[in-house]
Amino acid sequence: MARYILRRVGQGVFVLWATFTIAFFVLYLLPSDPAALIAAGGGGEVDQIDPALLEELRAQHGLDRPVIVQYGDALWQAVRGDFGASYLSGAPATSLVAQALPETLKLTGVALALAVAGGALLAVASVFPRARALRQALSALPPLGVALPTFFVGLLLLQWLSFRVPVFPAIGNEGAISLVLPAVTLAVPAGAQLAQVLSRSLRGTLGEPYVETAWAKGAGRGRVFLAHALRNAAIPAFTVLGIMVGGLLGGAVVTETVFSRVGLGRLTVQSVNQQDVPVVLAIVVFSALVFVVVTLVVDLVYPLLDPRIESSGITESRRSTAVAA
């Protein structure tokens, strides 16, 4: 088990390194001059800066060195948790990310909970009822939810529940109530995606012979659906959940922009627009880190859901206690 985790962590480190390297060189190839951006400090005309000042800034930030030396230096600093200072504000890139993070975590956390609860409920509801028409109507919802763009859902919610009937604030980060609309916006596509996978998988498991065995035992509808079909159907849906967590971070970019919320998404948009390379690099590597961690957690939880899957190295006794827990 320990060896398995160690190997997976090693793979994760590789992914992070690869992400950093690709991002570094892509950003380096951008046509803009970092020195000019630093000099401008987020505003002002880049053209009018004194060339001597630019030279000085380049020397100061080590931008006059060969790219490979810059890369090595940046990588070494990044390993120590330092992504350099923002070109715009001069603050460390990592602390900018850290500042923006809590708001985004709140948003994505609530959205994830909504998506899982809503998606699972919708999936069961689109399979469980006896009435065929109801099942069909409910089955049509997930594809619709997946198809709607995030910004469009956001704008609709704003229009109805904020401007026309002012129930929720339209923008800002003030209190829990300001979280409702953006979280719902973010949850809709994610929940719909989950519902789609789960209901398809549920329909599949309902046709499985072991479900017939359950019926033949005299089990009632609820028991057959929840104890037998849903437990098995949840396994593929769980994989989607892992991918979804990463997707929520991407969705946060749009949602935070639409609702003018402070957060990682807004910071991303800002930094990309202003070509604030250190901050962009920090955000990219952070996102990769989230993916790596979530994937590892999903893989470790998988054997607990499905006894047929063994994380290599997990022993029999370890597994039985884990399932019982």
């Binding site: 017939e212 065995t213 089990a219 028991r223 190295g313």
Partner: protein, 564 residues
């Protein structure tokens, strides 16, 4: 116990019509009696069984008839009333044990669930009782098994667990739907023996659904024969076997490999057709092998010389390597059929893959027509493949559903760039005719064909390149008995006409008896016994072979008749 009168079941078809699967069946199962419902796929036997449990698949509906259990009319029951009947009064032993247990729930809990559902025991007591039930179903070390998950148990053990589930609440009737068709014959025999003694002890009635008249005759007091949703004949098992009245029953008996006793032969006109290419194939009854044959054919078409195949196991699985094939040597002479027999996991399919050089042996040599092809690779191996072709078990999985039959049959020709488009098309027509399919199937998709027709297409494809050797990997196990018989006839005729050499892989000794010249019996990767078919089947030397021969269904019934 169970009385069915005038039962009719219909399925909604996509066109909006109704397909009548069961058309007015009368059936009685008395207390303590075992009644076998026999028929081929589409005969309505499974539908009848499911109707007795009110478990018809979506779209299925009982349209007429009454159903009584212990004198109680079940026709008027609502869905939730049925919950009290299923499991409690009628138990089901399902068809395929490998997929009929919930994979994420411990075996013991699945047995205990029946008792909890019917309020017969509380959780902890139900768990203890489940262990007893597993023991009753013939499972050793039931406490440990109860804590395991289904995938950790063999198919036979899983079927025993399902039997424990079926008997848990002490039902008066058990519906067993092809309970052992997915299992190896020796396992099948032990499980049916055990089920038989269980129901005798408790006086439980059994409705046994089976496609195999041999199994029915062995196990049932009475046999009911179904054809297309209608009962065509019923009576005591011994009478049905010895004195069948209805032509369909006679056809089933004639087709049942387990009840036939000798090798298939080719009718005369076919034999003379094939005389130029290979008269050896046009054999002959038991023990009538011409002695000249072995002398004339000095170089075997296929020779395996002490081949061994190991597979690496994933780390953490205990032993590092699995030895699938362990020092197997065999030779198949031209025009002969060498049958490789064994149960699942015996290594027979891996041996076939080695012969086809789809796998490379870990040690040993593979010789094709005297040439060592063990190390052949790339273009050389590809050229060699023209000489050996394969027919797989499932004609449903081995034909591309998007191809027309012509595409399928000519694909090997296209792969080797043989002939022009019109020549290939002519060849396809000849091949289809050769396997006795009507010419118009060429334009149709494989999906539109029946299982037997599909297997004919697969055989035609294997013959497209005029191979010397055809490896037949369980070619009839996925088919109905009467279709099985037709395909076996076809294979024997083609062998005679084209001088084909067969490596015939099968778990079914009864089928092997009908086609094989030589038989090799495999167990745990080793060839435990081999020799001429009649010697192996009539006078097996090894204990394992004897067990296999004894397990052929239908044998018990035949012996009973002989002694009577």
């Amino acid at each position: 116990m169970l009385e069915i009168e005038g039962l009719e079941v219909g399925y909604r078809t996509p066109g909006g019509g109704t397909y009548r699967a069961v058309r007015g069946i009368d059936l009685q199962v008395r207390a303590g009696e075992v009644v076998a419902l026999v028929g081929e796929s589409g005969s309505g036997k499974s539908t009848t069984a499911h109707a007795a449990l009110h478990l018809l698949p979506r779209g299925g509906r009982v349209t007429a008839g009454t159903l009584r259990l212990d004198g109680r009319d079940l026709s008027a029951l609502t869905g939730s009333d049925w919950q009290g009947v299923r499991g409690r009064h009628v138990g089901l032993v399902p068809q395929d044990p490998t997929v009929s247990l919930n994979p994420v729930v411990r075996v013991g809990d699945q047995v205990a669930e029946v008792l909890v559902i019917h309020g017969l025991a509380r959780r902890a007591a139900a768990r203890r009782r489940a262990v007893e039930l597993l023991a009753q179903a013939g499972i050793d070390d039931p406490e440990a098994r109860a804590r395991q998950y289904p995938h950790q148990l063999s198919g036979g053990l899983r079927q025993r667990a399902l039997i424990a589930i079926a008997i848990a609440a002490g039902p008066r009737l058990i519906v067993a739907d092809e309970p052992t068709s997915a299992l190896d014959v020796t396992v099948q025999r032990r499980i049916l023996d055990h089920l038989g003694s269980l129901v005798r002890e408790t006086g439980t009635a059994v409705l046994l659904i089976t496609h195999d008249l041999g199994v029915a005759a062995d196990r049932a007091d009475r046999v009911v024969v179904l054809e297309q949703g209608v009962v065509v004949e019923e009576g005591p098992a011994a009478r049905i076997l010895t004195d069948p009245q209805h032509p369909y029953t006679r056809k089933l008996i004639a087709a049942a490999p387990s009840l036939a006793s000798s090798r298939l032969t080719v009718s005369h006109h076919a034999a003379t057709d094939g005389a130029t290419s290979g008269d050896e194939g046009s054999t002959t009854g038991l023990g009538a092998e011409p002695p000249a044959r072995a002398a004339r054919e000095t170089v075997p078409v296929l020779e395996l010389d002490d081949v061994r195949k190991e597979f690496a196991l994933p780390r953490g699985a205990g032993a590092r390597r699995l030895v699938a094939v362990d020092g197997v040597s065999l030779a198949v002479g031209r025009g002969q059929t060498y049958a490789l027999v064994g149960e699942s996991g015996s290594g027979k399919s891996t041996t076939a893959r080695l012969a086809l050089r789809l796998e490379k042996p870990t040690a040993g040599r593979v010789l094709f027509q005297g040439t060592d092809i063990t190390g052949a690779r790339g273009g050389e191996l590809r050229r060699l493949r023209r000489g050996f072709q394969v027919v797989y078990q499932s004609p449903y999985a081995s034909l591309d559903p998007r191809f027309t039959v012509e595409d399928i049959v000519t694909e090997p020709l296209r792969a080797f760039g043989v002939g022009s488009a019109s020549e290939r098309s002519d060849r396809a027509r000849a091949l289809v005719e050769d396997v006795a399919l009507p010419g118009d199937v060429l334009r149709r998709g494989a999906r539109e064909l029946s299982g037997g027709q599909r297997q004919r297409v697969a055989i035609a494809r294997a013959l497209a390149l005029n191979p010397d050797l055809v490896v037949l990997d369980e070619p009839v196990s996925a088919l109905d008995v009467s279709v099985q018989a037709q395909i076996l006839d076809l294979l024997v005729r083609l062998q005679a006409e084209h001088g084909l050499t067969y490596l015939f892989i099968s778990h079914d000794l009864a089928v092997v008896r009908q086609v094989a010249d030589q038989v090799g019996v495999m167990s745990r990767g080793r060839l435990v016994e081999s020799g001429p078919a009649e010697c192996i089947l009539l006078d097996p030397q090894e204990a394992y072979t004897r067990e296999l021969v004894a397990a052929i269904p239908g044998r018990r019934a035949l012996e009973k008749l002989e002694t009577a």
